[in-house]
Subunit: 363 residues, 2 copies
């Protein structure tokens, strides 16, 4: 083309991190009866969030949203017991991950993650022309010791870890995470993605210490809070790291509905406790369905259960495909060693009823 295209973009393949269930539905001409593939909050958001949205719909949507997300950040900083300038909101963790790659690395730099971990992080790494290095999972858990060691052995700009983990649902206790944070090279920025933090057992999330000069933690309203469609997450850490986001981020990027609904959700503590209990019950039920069908559920700290189908990747892919044919949307890990599993999100009772009914036929 005669116009300039940045060589990094020019060299990229035409791939997307996820194919949406809506796209599959359009292609198949059906609507999924059970939407269990994206780890959403299938029970829906807090009623306070819905009320906040309905009020904003008539009062606020014509106005540009507050570019500083002041009220939401204020509430978050109080909740986390940190300062206002130690937290920044973004359009979901996805948007924040892109910014982190852009700010804390340069083209060609090595960025480290686990083989089979969050595809959208990898997407951003490639899209900014950075070099992705991966380390396999060990026993379905991220290999924290191995990751930390690699950052000490070679120049790694960023290391990405999620705890609890997606797509496996496994987790490390806070002391193991802290040992990891201490073991990583001080030259490496650590992303600790806690998207599933709310559903994890006590003792999973390490204490907050914004004094650490190389740690950014990420949380979201897309999972336990049931607001995935609105796009709102947040990053927190040392203020010297946080202030860099404001130099490059899209300042109106967190829409007004997201800000209002997230703020209202934060106060719905009783609702959240019940939602977390429902999610735990759902995990137990999925695990039971798996065992009843002679599959092995992996213990999970998230709003999904990953199930070892005890054969190869093709076998698991076949299960996925036939579940889709029976109206069940699920996804699966793709990396060697993990790909014999399928990942099933906690859904509403009728969705899990449907799963339970069709799984024996599928197998």
């Amino acid at each position: 083309m005669p116009i300039k295209i940045d060589p990094i973009v020019s060299a990229l393949a035409d791939t997307v991190p996820f194919v949406a269930p809506e796209e599959t539905e359009r292609a198949k001409g059906v609507v999924f009866k059970a939407r269990l593939g994206a780890n959403e909050g299938n029970f829906g958001p807090a009623s306070a969030a819905v009320a906040a949205i309905q009020k904003a719909a008539s009062d606020d949507i014509w106005k540009y949203c507050d570019p500083t997300a002041f009220e939401l950040r204020q509430a978050l900083s109080r909740r986390l017991n940190i300062d206002l300038d130690e937290v920044v909101c973004g359009p979901g963790i996805d948007g924040l991950l892109g910014l982190i790659v852009r700010i804390f690395s340069s083209p060609g730099d090595t960025i480290l993650t686990s083989l089979g971990a969050y595809p959208t992080f990898n997407y951003h790494v490639h899209a900014y022309g950075r070099t992705l290095k991966t380390l396999p999972y060990k026993a379905f858990r991220e290999d924290l010791e191995g990751l930390a060691q690699l950052t000490r052995e070679q120049r790694v700009s960023i290391v990405y870890v999620s705890n609890p983990d997606n797509p496996m649902g496994t987790w490390w206790r806070a002391d193991a995470v802290e040992a990891f944070l201490n073991a990583v090279s001080p030259n490496t920025l650590i992303i600790l993605d806690e998207a599933y933090g709310e559903t994890a057992p006590d003792g999973t999330l390490p204490p907050i210490d914004t004094g650490r000069p190389n740690l950014i933690r990420l949380r979201t309203f897309s999972k336990a809070y049931g607001l995935a469609g609105l796009r709102v997450g947040y990053a927190f850490g040392n203020r010297e790291l946080v202030k860099l986001f404001h130099r490059v981020r899209d300042h109106f990027g967190v829409n007004v509905m997201a800000q209002k609904a997230a703020l209202a959700s934060l106060d719905a503590t009783k609702w959240l406790a019940e939602a977390i209990e429902q999610i735990a019950d759902g995990r137990d039920r999925i695990a039971k369905i798996a065992r009843d069908n002679n599959l092995d559920p992996i213990a999970s700290a998230t709003n999904f259960v990953t199930i070892d189908c005890k054969a190869d990747g093709d076998f698991a892919a076949g299960i996925l495909q036939r579940l889709a044919d029976h109206g069940v949307f699920v996804r699966k890990p793709m990396a060697p060693g993990l790909d014999r599993c399928v990942r099933i999100s906690v859904g509403r009772k009728e969705e899990l009823d449907h799963l339970e009914a069709v799984l024996p036929q599928v197998l």
Copy 2:
């Protein structure tokens, strides 16, 4: 810092493109009585958009939004009479501008705009380490001939033009725009920002021709459609350009509310016609208020009127400041030659009543 910070980000100043009125309100401890500074749709959105949001609030927000924005893109492509793969949605024009800079230029490249044009575009140019070159306005209009000539005289990756223009409200007729498109170097990507296209007189927007290999046009639901807080805009043009967005964009970046409300708004054609009429009436009223106070309104094709205060920049800045003290939020152009003006958005009747009441005291 021991961790890596990309040198482009490291070199950036801590600036933001706009200070939000909410921030001024918090600093002053007041709420603006008239919000006339951000060219929003003060009459609010179509009732169909509000209804769509209220429905989505209970039904859809727990789900990730459709990353392809299929239904909205389908409706837009029909409306524009182009193919589905010739349009891409984004989180407002702001978000799309960032992507365009990222895709269609490289660090150090020269990007051309008018001196005093849209600050958020300049923000993205700097934030990606590109070099901004500016050409002054001529008689309060963008100098299309001068801009085109510059692209032929030196290597310019991108040229940015808005028509109708912000912050001046002026516009070029479609034939002048087409002459510009033809005169720009084929090596330069043209951004034609038509954020205010809906409020422009017939004959302002050139015919759509997605065959042009170097043109991307931008439109938004933030202005006439009254959905600024939701963040949804779109880019359209040659499919070879549009496909590049999908390689780097945040795929869930257009939230579910934005998709649903925009889709519903597109069908509200009768409402839109009335809104445009209200905006035209508001422009007339602002112009009359200006003339009644011995100021010179500039003819506008937008939802605001820029007013020549007929003295210097300090004088206009004083008016801005005292309007704020009287509860009126407005903004002003900052570039030499334009900075003697203030820019007043069309507001609701009570907002313009308040402006009319306080302006004589302010002067």
